[in-house]
């Protein structure tokens, strides 16, 4: 069931490749705008890089979260999935996993490249990559709760940002903190452990909450 | 009763500013709720005026209390 849902979502996403690309471009453009707004001073850019990349990742995930359940909701697939004997928990987990592969993984892969724009060292780029790899599942997981709650509501796109962005705060702090620690020459390990712990907590609670949200929205 | 220094030893703007904001917040909350309540009461009065049968009013009230457990 899980594999079937993930596979199905991946195929659907592949048919609309441009959506994936536009999320990636959004991420790259947002990150590239900061030096234009702040100035090309290397030292300054290096110190804001972790926050800029992480905030851009949060914003980019806002763009794709609206689509997490919306298409299946519109064509009625979601209601069918609710009726299957499989626990809704698994359905949500599958869709979250697919969302992560479609919308977040490309960002994780391209992040070291945009990091070069900020003159980050090789080790820092590596930590940036690892922190995003650990942290972006949190964005998909918590985001799925917001996507479930705002399903079919007018102004869902703005609403989901208000609901979800404050909940992302720990991920942002630990993720950007790990990168920043590396820049100032401290070990990123504590931040990465905390990020991992937060990811585990999200994995435990978010699919449950998102299933509840879907049931409420589809009632 | 010794009246405190109204200038608050030079901090008057900050101290009175805080309490003024608190006052404004509370007054706003009370007034906005009073307004909301008045609008609702007017609406209810109109609804009752539409069907001037006191017995019907009483039964709807009773129904309101009994169907609570199911909803």
């Amino acid at each position: 069931m899980l594999r079937w849902i993930v596979w199905r979502d991946l195929i659907l996403a592949w048919r609309r490749r441009s959506d994936i690309l536009s999320t990636v471009f959004f991420f790259v453009i947002v990150v590239s705008l900061f030096p234009l707004g702040i100035g090309p001073e290397t030292q300054l850019l290096r110190s804001i890089a972790p926050g800029v990349v992480w905030v851009a990742a949060l914003l980019a995930s806002m763009l794709s979260l609206g689509r997490l359940f919306a298409n299946d909701y519109q064509d009625g697939t979601l209601e069918q999935l609710l009726l299957t004997p499989q626990p809704l928990f698994l359905v949500v987990l599958g869709k979250v996993l697919a969302h992560w592969i479609i919308a977040e993984l490309p960002l994780v892969l391209i992040a070291p490249l945009v990091g070069v724009q900020f003159d980050l060292s090789k080790q820092t780029l590596w930590v940036l990559f690892v922190s995003l790899l650990l942290g972006t599942p949190i964005l998909s997981l918590i985001g799925s709760v917001g996507a479930g709650l705002t399903l079919g509501l007018r102004g869902g796109g703005v609403l989901i940002s208000i609901l979800i962005l404050p909940l992302y705060v720990p991920a942002l702090i630990f993720g950007a903190g790990a990168v920043e620690a590396t820049i100032i020459g401290v070990t990123p390990a504590p931040n990465l452990y905390l990020l991992g712990a937060f990811a585990v907590v999200s994995l435990l609670f978010a699919p449950w909450a998102a299933s509840a949200a879907l049931r409420i929205s589809l009632e | 009763m010794n009246w405190p220094d109204l200038s608050m030893g030079g901090y008057g703007f900050y101290v009175w500013g805080s309490y003024l904001f608190a006052l404004v917040a509370i007054v706003w909350e009370v007034l906005s709720l009073r307004h909301r309540k008045k609008a609702l009461a007017n609406e209810a009065r109109r609804a009752v005026a539409d069907d001037d049968r006191p017995a019907a009013v009483r039964t709807t009230v009773l129904r309101g209390s009994t169907n609570e457990t199911t909803s």
Partner: protein, 241 residues
């Protein structure tokens, strides 16, 4: 006379009406007493001067902001789990007052920060987490406002509030962690005011006053919500009036 009867919004409506003065009048009295003790009895702090008197409104507001969020989540959760409409309505009624107190604590915090720290806003751990708390309230209120069906609004709000309440300790910890890492942002009070007995008395009286005020105003809002949602109750109000 059975108690559970009052769990019905329509039955609770007149009860709430009778309860309101019992909280509103003591609240007004305690505000007066608290301000009297705070401004006339409590001495001037030798380090902060009279600026510390902002504390009497700032600290209770900050506590109420935090406490009301938890209370809101509990009511929303009970309303969702046991299908108790009154409890869900209570959660919606609490949200605005909680957000108001959180905003009040931020504003008074800025008014206190300017003379003591020399800045209106500092990215201090407590101020930052209070700001995020305000965002969480905003999310709850915005979500409920966007949903037309009250039952869906109640339940969606409950899920959001529960997720929020699980997240709040993590957010507080992460902000604390973030703050200790960035040494530049840490600020220290110009020496804490050594709390004299009248100061503590004034603080506690103001806290009690804020508490009673919150109960009263939440009950008023609850009555409005009951009227809006329950056709029958609105007639009941008319009959009682």
């Amino acid at each position: 006379m059975k108690l559970y009867k009052y769990a019905s919004p329509a039955m609770f409506y007149p009860v709430a009406g009778k309860m309101i003065p019992w909280f509103a009048i003591p609240a007004a009295l305690l505000f007066a007493v608290g301000l009297y003790v705070g401004f006339f009895v409590a001495p001037t702090d030798f380090q902060q001067g009279d600026a510390y008197r902002i504390m009497f409104i700032h600290v209770p507001a900050a506590w109420m902001g935090m406490f009301l969020y938890v209370l809101m989540a509990i009511y929303a959760g009970i309303g969702w789990a046991f299908n108790a409409r009154l409890s869900s309505m209570m959660a919606s009624a609490i949200a605005v007052t909680g957000a108001m107190f959180t905003l009040l604590s931020l504003v008074t915090g800025a008014f206190w920060g300017k003379p003591t720290w020399g800045t209106w806003w500092a990215w201090d751990a407590r101020m930052t987490s209070t700001l995020i708390l305000l965002f969480l309230y905003a999310g709850f209120i915005a979500l409920q406002a966007a949903i037309d069906d009250p039952r869906r609004a109640d339940r969606a709000g409950a899920v959001l509030a529960i997720v929020g309440v699980i997240n709040v300790p993590i957010i507080y910890f992460s902000v604390q962690w973030w703050n200790t890492l960035h040494q530049g942002a840490t600020i220290r009070l110009l020496g804490k005011p050594s709390i004299a007995a009248p100061m503590l008395t004034a603080l506690l009286i103001m806290l009690a006053a804020c508490w009673l005020y919150s109960v009263a105003i939440v009950l008023v809002r609850l009555r409005c919500i009951i009227l809006e949602r329950e056709q029958n109750a609105s007639r009941l109000a008319e009959v009682n009036a």
